[in-house]
């Protein structure tokens, strides 16, 4: 076998397992696409006006475990997610969890109608018409949720609608045992 041919075979032998590893990683990533453990970083202050005109800031919720839910009235999966959010928020509020909605690149009126439709008026929803707060948070789209611990550090980033499994797996362990 010539040296060139030998070199070729060595190349193939290195390339095939490499491709297999990349493929396997890609498939595994696909399975877990919904939940992303982020590199811990301080949450931004996220200050602004809510849909009902109050001033709210994420920094003001320091000391609580906070779930920041990024949504928009034009987003279909947000519509599917909201009933669960509305049902879960008061239950977890009793254990010290605070929910903060972030309505991204949305009209004020459609957003208010959306909130009323799902009976989510009791939760604060920051209005972010230009998407600036979403970028500051590091959001990729809607719906998404960020879990912020009591020290104001982002510890989890959920891509896609919130699920009971996600809450159980990531939110509940941050709370004091009952």
């Amino acid at each position: 076998m010539s040296a060139a041919r030998r070199l070729g075979w060595i190349g193939v032998a290195l390339l095939v397992p490499g491709l297999a590893v990349v493929l396997a990683h890609g498939l595994r990533t696909g399975e877990e696409a919904a939940s992303v453990a982020v590199a811990r970083r301080p949450a931004p202050a996220l200050e602004g006006a809510t849909l009902d005109g109050r001033r709210v800031s994420l920094a003001g919720l320091r000391g609580h475990v906070v779930v920041v839910n990024v949504w928009a009235s034009w987003c279909g999966p947000c519509r599917e997610e909201f009933p669960y959010l509305v049902e879960t928020a008061p239950r977890l509020a009793a254990r010290g969890v605070r929910f903060l909605g972030l309505d991204v690149r949305d009209g004020l009126e459609p957003a208010r109608r959306f909130v009323e439709e799902f009976g989510a008026q009791d939760l604060p929803h920051l209005s972010d018409p230009d998407g600036r707060l979403a970028l500051d948070l590091g959001a990729f789209g809607v719906p998404e949720s960020f879990l912020v611990d009591r020290d104001g550090t982002i510890v989890q980033h959920l891509l896609g609608p919130m699920t009971p499994q996600w809450v159980e797996r990531h939110v509940l362990p941050l709370l004091d045992p009952r």
Binding site: L7, R41, E47, S57, L135, D136, L137, A139, F140, G141
Partner: protein
């Protein structure tokens, strides 16, 4: 004859490859220089960042909601005097290195940078081998008697070779030496080009989060930052006003006025404690400056109310007649007796 042609073709190919590599390096260098010299535009910065909600396009190309938001944010920060690198760092802190379209040449991505160089270097080997073979063939089919032109240039070589060595063998040896030289030259060029490419186009380098003073002469001066800060504060954007006044304060370290404005902006942004931390060291040096006492007292009223009332009382005792803040501070203190 065909051997000579093949040697010539091989040499031409090698020279062509070397010229190509050199040109690529020059193009990269030029492109990097142009980037450094041209004014930074929103599109330039956006083109170096990925769009978060589409992922396959740059933030400059996409019309997705977050790409539009990114362009607006880039524009806002450029207007505040941020450098392109600092804006990229801002997004990288939130999205990780993924957001950069040219990840820095470090960690795993270093492999991606090194791979083309390695492939190029590996590609040179068969070429060099072919060159050597072609030279060997040329030597076998070439003249068996010494050509006059070869006498002069190989005296040293000849003196070291056995007496009975033929010109054919000598030609082969010379070919191998030259072939090895070509391989070494090509490998050095390829590796050098790769290193240069990685150094020049390796993406934005991390920079400290807030050091506007290091920005070059294209950035606005302190007066520009002060004007921007005032405009932003008037528009109710206290956070951005803080950034502008921070920049002005960094550019004028000996001027107290930008610090006072920064203090006010911090109070307005709900960061009174930071304003107190900023201003208290100044009070030690300028205990009788009424403007400093006014800003510090205002900040302390939120962060440390008793201290705030004391500071404002001192302001009243030192403020010149007709100071516009005196009536308001007096009312405030009378409404909040010690």
């Amino acid at each position: 004859m065909s051997g000579v042609r093949s040697v010539l073709a091989g040499r031409l190919a090698a020279v062509g490859l070397a010229v190509l590599i050199a040109l690529s390096c020059a193009a990269l260098w030029r492109s990097a220089q142009q980037e450094a010299a041209a004014p930074v535009r929103v599109q330039d910065v956006a083109a170096s960042l990925r769009c978060p909600d589409c992922q396959t396009a740059s933030a400059a190309e996409s019309s997705s909601p977050l790409a539009q938001a990114m362009r607006a944010e880039i524009g806002r920060r450029l207007a505040l005097g941020w450098s392109a690198d600092r804006i990229r760092d801002y997004f990288q802190e939130r999205y990780g290195p993924w957001i950069l379209r040219s990840p820095p040449a470090e960690g795993l991505s270093l492999g991606a940078w090194a791979l083309p160089v390695a492939v190029l270097a590996a590609g040179c080997l068969p070429l060099a081998r072919r060159l050597r073979r072609a030279r060997g063939a040329a030597a076998t089919t070439g003249p068996t008697t010494p050509a006059p032109a070869r006498h002069g240039d190989s005296t040293a070589e000849r003196s070291q070779e056995p007496e009975n060595a033929t010109w054919q063998a000598r030609g082969g040896a010379r070919g191998r030496v030259r072939g090895a030289g070509w391989v070494a030259a090509l490998l050095s060029l390829a590796c050098g080009g790769g290193v240069l490419a990685a150094a020049l186009a390796g993406g934005p380098s991390p920079s400290p989060p807030a050091d506007p003073a290091r920005d070059d002469a294209r950035q606005p001066d302190a007066g520009g930052y002060l004007a921007r800060g005032r405009a932003l504060q008037a528009a109710g954007d206290a956070e951005q006003a803080v950034l502008a006044f921070e920049a002005a304060a960094a550019l004028r370290p000996d001027d107290r006025a930008p610090r006072y404005l920064l203090g006010f902006a911090l109070v307005k942004a709900g960061r009174a404690a930071e304003a107190v931390t900023l201003l208290r060291p100044l009070r030690a040096r300028h205990p009788d400056d009424p403007d400093l006492l006014l800003v510090l007292g205002t900040a302390e009223l939120t962060a440390d109310p008793p201290a705030g009332r004391r500071t404002l009382a001192r302001f009243l005792s030192l403020a010149p007649e007709g100071h516009p803040a005196v009536p308001e501070v007096r009312r405030l203190l009378e409404g909040n007796p010690r």
